[in-house]
Amino acid sequence: MTTINTGDTAWVLFATALVLMMTPALAFFYGGMVRKKNILSTLNLSIIVIGLISIQWVLIGYTLAFGNSTGGLIGNLKYAGLTGVGAAPNAQYAPNIPHLAFAAFQMMFAIITPALITGALVERVRFRTFLVFVLLWATFVYDPVAHWVWGAGGILHKLGTLDFAGGTVVHITAGYSALAFAIVIGRRRWFGHAPIEPSSIPFTVLGAGLLWMGWFGFNGGSALAANGLAVNALVTSNTAAAASAVMWMLLTWRDNKPSVLGIVTGAVVGLVAITPASGYVSPLSALIIGAVAAPVSYYAIKLRQRMQLDESLDVWACHGVGGTWGALATGIFASKAINPTGANGLLFGNPVQFVIQIIAVVLVIAFSFGMTFVIASVLKKLIGLRVSQNEEEVGLDISEHGERAYS
């Protein structure tokens, strides 16, 4: 039975707009953390992804992720060019809203995920190589993983993986791909020898605030209806973000002073961790998930620093590690009392769910890291990943775009 519900449709359309806003918000979150000679370049890496992936998604992305399953691995070409995706609902995915609304909402997830990776390669990536990378990555990493987890008949979907809004599909893929890309592209020039000071922490705070708001659409919208589940997702998201922000404040305070950059980072990490769980756990569980997410990512950043690895804006520590914790936490705290279409987790007498989550996490980490390592390595050999030393020192705003942020 499929009947369009106007309230549900209105909420999903609004949530789509909120999630779109998250990509420019991410641009400012990242832009504030780089040096001022690279701020336009960094903003642009996120913005151009909106352009590229909007096109890719209409042409092939949607159908690869949500077309009829081919062996559980990838969608077929049934919906290429969004053919046949219109006002009528698709009973498999959302029987209460137009199929096209579902495709549009999912498009925004496909956009922000590669934009997240840009934090690993800022201040040195060659722009034209990045354009090619994004298209390859969306097609060969994001679309397949989205199909595995969310596509009807996808391998992880059939296994029973719980991922409400993208802990594996969005955050683990982005985080571990960022790690792989950072290893292949190498450190920024003078990394570890000269200080790299954020150009505008206010931009980062602004970006984090807008991300926080947008996340209500990201997680709340993933209910695909204006119902109690959407409310639960919104409240758990806010609770986890708050718990993680406060925990991060305490961590920096113990080491030093309560850092503003740290507090907003904590909020984002809390939102990352609750993403897969938001529609399956209670607000109290969200409090624990958020509070644990902060120290986990905090020490992941310290580990990354100790390894002298220039994964520049800590996409791996925040999204890869935070997302992994969230996906595992879903297997611990999920409760059918919250979402009867979900499953119970470890704490509610179902350890199998925890094992399923581990399998999904390991598979997605291995696939994302491996594929990105290969794609980046091939591009490095064929067209080069980095700008020249001189271009890097001048800054990418001038050398890649011929523009400067401030006169």
């Binding site: 200080p195 000071e197 961590l251 920096t252 080491d255 030093n256 002073k257 850092s259 950059l261 740290g262 980072t265 905090y298 950043i301 310290k302 620093q305 800590d314």
Partner: protein, 122 residues
């Protein structure tokens, strides 16, 4: 003889120093925002985790051109107003000036430097 005083100050001391100079009749000056460090070599700032080192700190450079006999009084005033007693209070450099020209009138030397109500007429 004419001298130029170049004082490197903490940003937050600029207002107090300017008020003190106004009180003794120093009417003209200009200020440049500069970045730099002394022997202590920068400071630690707090980051996402732990802290990181920044070499160059923001300071202001106050430039005043005045007659020889007013230098000591002016320098004392600046020192008194700008001191915190901590490392990083800044330095004052004093140079000889060959000539001063007031563009509006083409006056030169002492005439170009004196104003009604300035330090010499008090």
């Amino acid at each position: 003889m004419t001298k130029k005083i170049e004082a490197i100050l903490r940003e937050e001391k600029l207002d107090v120093v300017m008020a003190a100079l106004r009180d003794i009749g120093i009417v003209g000056m200009n200020v440049i925002e500069v970045r730099g460090h002394g022997r202590q070599g920068g400071i630690e700032l707090v980051g996402r985790t732990g802290s990181y080192h920044v070499d160059l700190l923001p300071r202001v450079q106050l430039n005043i051109v005045l007659s020889d006999h007013n230098v000591d009084r002016t320098v004392d005033t600046i020192c008194k107003a700008a001191q915190t007693g901590n490392i990083g209070d800044g330095l004052i450099f004093i140079y000889p000036v060959d000539e001063v020209v007031r563009i509006r009138t083409s006056e030169r030397g002492r005439q170009a430097l004196t104003y009604a109500g300035d330090i010499d007429t008090r």
